[in-house]
Symmetry: C2
Subunit: 314 residues, 2 copies
């Protein structure tokens, strides 16, 4: 079983305006609101792949109830815990004139220490039945700085593979718990390491504790540094659209591959094709099955020498 | 009893960002959400004045339930009808760097013909017990163009005073039903008549059917053309703050004055003081009682000759 963790679940809305003009009033067209947060979007992609993931994390308030309704509609098994605070909303304001999105992300509910204590016990029970645990996205206010590290240690002790997709201090704090896989994009990797050279930055993150670093470089594909070797994987063509869901699709492919016991070249091939298949879709968590199957056999996967500096964390 | 009508009730949210930069992502701080829509804000001010208004209109969906919760919290008597569609949200994104607001207004639920038919019956029953009916704001999709005209005719036939605060085609369509009072601001009056001269524009609106036109000119006060004469009323000082609630406070004062049978100079004095008392408050529907009482006796009210063109609608 794959368990996805979304500590800061959200209700995602997209509003259309003719043109965003600061300091004016806009008449907006609102679309359907969806349950969101990166872990929930990973679970959506896993459902599209025919898996049956369990989604956990924290939700609260009226917004939290709508997130839970959204999970039911998406046929995702719901193991979220309800907290007293109100779950956050995110809003993408899309301009019809240029298609560009302006994004607003709420911080999320304040989670109290007793709530976090209860969630850790709940998570331990779920992780005991999981083969892969995916931890994605930001953390809500109130959580300890090492919240992800705590969960990774619990999951690893239970024998689960751990895949972490977060950024900034939450990422750096979690590395000490030695996650099996982290999936930073180029921006996140530069922010975390101060280094723009992907192989060197990946080596630095492995030295801090990550066993495998799968760095995503947008349309250039993936650079993966694993204990078994280093690979580059690239899509055969460029797709235009909305790249926001590509990272979540990539993480879903990694989780599915780890659950199946696949080799890294096969995992990366799937991850590149599935990431590309997310780009034509308007919202995160969706993939275009036809694009996925068309690209899958044409992804290039190439073994490259490890960076000299990379001795890995072992 | 004063009945306020909000056909397109909303859940109003205010989000703070450091600075609004289109095409980027923002971390937002969210404040409490409130039941809104101009009629509900008028009812809030009436409660602050010690009145006990009844609020009606249309709400729907999960957002509608939160609007109803908000009415209960504000101690406003709730006579809204629930429709199948989802009530709209409005969002003000306030930049901390300059205090400016960028506003997004949803269109509202699609209201079906059977729902409107039921609402008209519900409204007729409520209007029969009302001395003043206030009709404020935009109308949701699906309503007939003459929706306000229908309600005004029903209320007038029941013997209630009618006060209309809307704009654009909804305003023009409603004039044929001869509302007792309309309260356009300078922008709305220019948009409706194509005339920037307030006395001439007011005369034009009276010729179309409005019995009294109370034109609000922001910090310059009110210009009122009534069957009993024409008055200008102005505040004794300028207040800085948020003018969005001033119009709703003005309408509340007019409604309270009509209910009490006050003379127009007294109504206008109260309306100017109450509008000004809304400006220091951060959200619409609130008034600063100390400012109101400080200004009330110092408002200037001056009778002016009627515009030569203004023969009124009689």
């Amino acid at each position: 079983m794959i368990l996805t963790v979304t500590l800061n679940a959200a209700l995602d809305a997209t509003w259309s305006v003719d043109s965003l003009r600061p300091r004016t009033s806009h008449r907006v067209d609102t679309a359907q609101e969806r349950a969101g947060g990166k872990g929930i979007n990973v679970a959506r992609v896993l459902v599209a792949l025919g898996r049956d993931p369990v989604a956990t994390g924290l939700v609260g308030g009226a917004t939290g109830r709508r997130i839970r309704d959204g999970l039911r509609n998406a046929r995702i098994r719901n193991a979220f815990l309800e907290v007293i605070g109100e779950s956050r909303r995110t809003l993408a304001v899309v301009s019809r004139d240029d298609g560009d999105a302006t994004v607003f992300n709420g911080r999320g509910p304040f989670v109290t220490a007793p709530e976090w204590h209860l969630f850790r016990q709940h998570f331990a029970a779920l992780a005991a039945g999981a083969r892969v645990v995916v931890l994605s996205g930001s953390t809500p206010p109130g959580l300890p700085a090492d919240a992800y590290a705590q969960l990774i240690r619990t999951a690893s002790a239970a024998g689960a593979h751990t895949v972490l997709d977060t950024s900034g201090p939450a990422l750096l704090q979690a590395l000490a718990a030695r996650p099996d896989v982290i999936k930073p994009n180029t921006e996140e990797i530069t922010a975390a390491t101060g280094c723009e050279d992907l192989p060197r930055a990946a080596a630095a993150l492995r030295a801090l504790g990550a066993r495998t670093v799968v760095a995503s470089a947008g349309a250039d594909g993936l650079h993966a540094v694993t204990p078994e070797g280093t690979w580059r994987a690239a899509p055969p063509e460029q797709l235009s659209g909305n790249p926001t869901g590509a990272g979540d699709a990539c993480v879903a492919a990694i989780a599915a591959g780890l659950e199946a016991g696949s080799a890294w070249p096969d995992i990366l091939r799937t991850a590149v094709a599935l990431s590309a298949a997310a780009v034509p879709c308007p919202v995160a968590g969706e993939v275009d099955a036809a694009v996925y199957h068309r690209l899958l056999t044409r992804v290039s996967v190439e073994k490259v020498p490890a960076a000299p500096a990379d001795a890995g964390p072992e």
